[in-house]
Symmetry: C2
Subunit: 462 residues, 2 copies
């Protein structure tokens, strides 16, 4: 498997997406499982790297997963657990047992081991903490003292630190002789006797410098360091903004206690992007392998929000039901006013969210985007008023309907633009997540205002 796909080419798959686990491979595995051909199964499974084995397990059914685990149990790479969704992960940990997990935790990097322990249910968590070594336990408990989603939870505690009076040759000797070096590292930290970082040397710079070179002279002093309690979203922002590959993590007194590398940050960026996308679609969690009733339960919360939104609109419409009973066409046109307002509002919210997260909008210049969006809303209200007027005139042949529609439509569009920026900014400023709440809040207002304004005007005029 690993060899077959070593070089990744565009044309390997007809729909343009790589299936690192191809349908054919999955089929072969399933055949071996069904035919109990354990030897064959082993041959297919053993060359798989942890991420690929993880993906394979996700795609199998529960009993097939157990067969796979049984087949490769003595050689099972515990890193695989890091690549599983919550449901499959806990299924496999339950099957392997906490004892076995505890024994193999030490094989993992400290950040990965911590992630695994952190994801366990609390009973299993306390159980595993009694079974690992005292030093491992102490280091977990230290990280646990930092807030969830903080830099400390992302970092690994293994890093390379050297004093500033050394030469490059001393650093090389140190790296070659020490035990407990991290598997991979991208830079070496230069520290003073208090373990404060005074400089950073990228590995490539170490390689470029002769062994006689003095650390103090080659180290970079304009490096970025990260406080252990910094939120992971901010860590991701800094890595992106400054194109970092690795950064030292400091505790409250400024001592270096760990290292964050870009692969951890890529996961955070991916997670945060997934969260934003799901929240815009009003999904709180996605776990493909969870049973249907769990998924159903997880979706209900947001559907209740939609229902409340829809009911608010329905109450407004029902208030004007006698007007609608005089003219059924109003029922058709009112939905256009509401839909366009909501769509305009969602556009403004998405753009404002992005501008806030890339730091282009902040408290110093919030009136500028509000002004701009109000102008955009006005402009588009004008364009679509013309289109809508033409449609309604030809369709219903009643000029009064056109005026009612255009006025309520324009009003709703401008409110959506203005309210979109203001609500998104206010929600972020209050420390909430605008991806979650700005959409439903604004849509509720554009629905209610759209219906009320259109039907209210109609009641007055018709």
């Amino acid at each position: 498997m690993a060899n077959r796909l070593d070089t990744f080419r565009q044309d390997q798959d007809n729909d343009g997406l790589f299936d690192v686990i191809s349908s054919d491979f999955l089929h072969t595995i399933r055949l071996s499982i069904d035919s109990q051909n354990i030897q064959k199964l082993k041959e297919h499974l053993l060359p798989l790297e942890a991420p690929d084995l993880g993906l394979l397990l996700e795609q199998l059914d529960s009993d097939e997963r157990i067969t796979v685990i049984d087949t490769i149990r003595p050689d099972f790479d515990y890193d695989t657990l890091l690549y599983l969704s919550e449901h499959v992960q806990s299924e496999i940990i339950d099957y392997l047992g906490i004892d076995r997990l505890a024994r193999h935790l030490a094989e993992l990097d400290s950040d990965d081991a911590f992630t695994l322990i952190d994801e366990l249910p609390s009973e299993q968590q306390s159980e595993i903490l009694t079974k690992i070594s005292a030093s491992q336990r102490a280091s977990y408990e230290k990280i646990l003292s930092y807030p969830e989603d903080s830099a400390a939870r992302l970092m690994q505690q293994e890093f390379v630190a050297v004093p500033s009076f050394w030469k490059v040759g001393d650093v090389l000797k140190f790296i070659q002789k020490s035990k407990g070096m991290p598997d991979e590292f991208y830079e070496v930290y230069v520290v003073d006797p208090k373990h404060h970082v005074v400089g950073v040397i990228p590995n490539s710079l170490l390689l470029k410098t002769k062994t006689e070179g003095a650390i103090r002279e080659i180290m970079k002093t304009d490096f970025k360091s990260i406080s252990a309690n910094l939120d992971q979203e901010e860590v991701a922002y800094l890595f992106r903004h400054y194109d970092l590959v690795s950064a030292p993590v400091l505790d409250e007194s400024g001592r270096v206690i760990g290292m964050i590398t870009s692969d951890d940050v890529v996961d955070v960026i991916e997670e945060e992007a997934e969260k934003d996308i799901l929240q815009m679609a009003r999904v709180s969690e996605t776990d493909y392998n969870a049973p249907f009733y769990v998924t159903s339960y997880q979706r209900i919360g947001w559907l209740v929000v939609t229902l409340i939104n829809a009911l608010l609109g329905a109450v407004v419409i029902q208030h004007y039901h006698t007007t609608i009973e005089q003219k059924g066409a109003l029922a058709a046109l009112m939905t256009i006013v509401a839909a366009m307002g909501a769509s305009n509002g969602m556009q403004v919210i998405a753009v404002t969210m992005r501008a806030i997260s890339t730091r282009i909008i902040h408290s110093g210049n919030i009136w500028k985007p509000i002004g701009k969006e109000a102008l955009v809303g006005l402009m588009n209200a004008f364009v679509f008023s013309i289109i809508l007027s033409l449609i309604v005139v030809f369709w219903f042949k009643e000029p009064a309907l056109v005026w009612i529609l255009v006025i309520s439509f324009t009003f709703n569009m401008i409110w959506a633009s203005f309210g979109g920026v203001l609500m998104t900014y206010a929600i972020e400023k209050m420390g909430f997540d605008s991806a979650v709440s700005a959409g439903p809040l604004l849509t509720a207002t554009t629905d209610v205002l759209g219906f009320a304004c259109f039907l209210g005007l109609a009641t007055l005029v018709l």
Copy 2:
């Protein structure tokens, strides 16, 4: 600036987001610009790194940007251009002039220089190609021969390649003596005489090995390499899936021609996530500094799609206008059926999109998610049918309305679940982007079906 913010802490800013350009700093810069205090302005600007200067320029007005550029012109770091949005970037390139840009291009990494040339309008592009050196031009033209958004466009052409018969000491000497080494690199490629990569040595492994160590013995042979024509989204997937920090890029004959590093990939992941989020909110582009009429124009396309959606629904409603004129309450309740169907559909689309992009759903198992989602839809239709029945009974006191609502609501929910998976998968399979089209297509059907089913039943029953 750089020194002040060296360590990033959580509590530096009250709304929890880092302003690497704080409001205070922006205010200070603006004061210096207004008071023509060029000396002071220079003192503030010169310590800024390229990403920070870029962000500052984004936040200033057009004439302020010109003053800033004038103030630091001799020391202007051309890397800054990479951190600008399209509108601001072209404004500044126009102001600096193509001549000056051509002279400074060689200071950039080849991938960054290429990105800049690639983003220029076509007249400026051909102009700049006449002004750079022949070797630079040849290398750009080679990259231009690869498709847009391919791995070749992401890679830098500088990398370190060594023969397999060397020892670690030979590699170190080579790196220390050669000119044209990349600024930063994370691994060294071991190549055969045909320039095929036979192994990869991470820098940290080079540092860990004594100078007498043979390359052939320490190199990793289970590395991942990337074909030059691979799409950048696939590159991002592979970096994420295998936790890569760097990978060699191969041409059609398998020769290594470049290197992709994780900072480039982080930008791609961020771009793709931004694209998905914007497309779900029906925004095609976001350029905060574009004039309002450009933004207005960019938003119109998607609003037209919303309008067509809404008009389809309106046509259905109008078809039943006599039924609505008999009972205005129908106008209120029909919006609930449509809203809930649309919301359920968006949830299913978002979850399916994620499962496809993480390779959990593919052609081999597409019926499993369809079955699961249909069950989830049925379950939630049941739950909300009960809630809605109670509300409608107490509100309107008409049992007939309850039955009409429950039947059309259940039908719409199940269609949304089933159609959500199927449409998303079919759109991806046909090679289109489901983030763009699945939402509008499905919403059109849930609106039309919801209205038609509810009003049609009402016409029959009432």
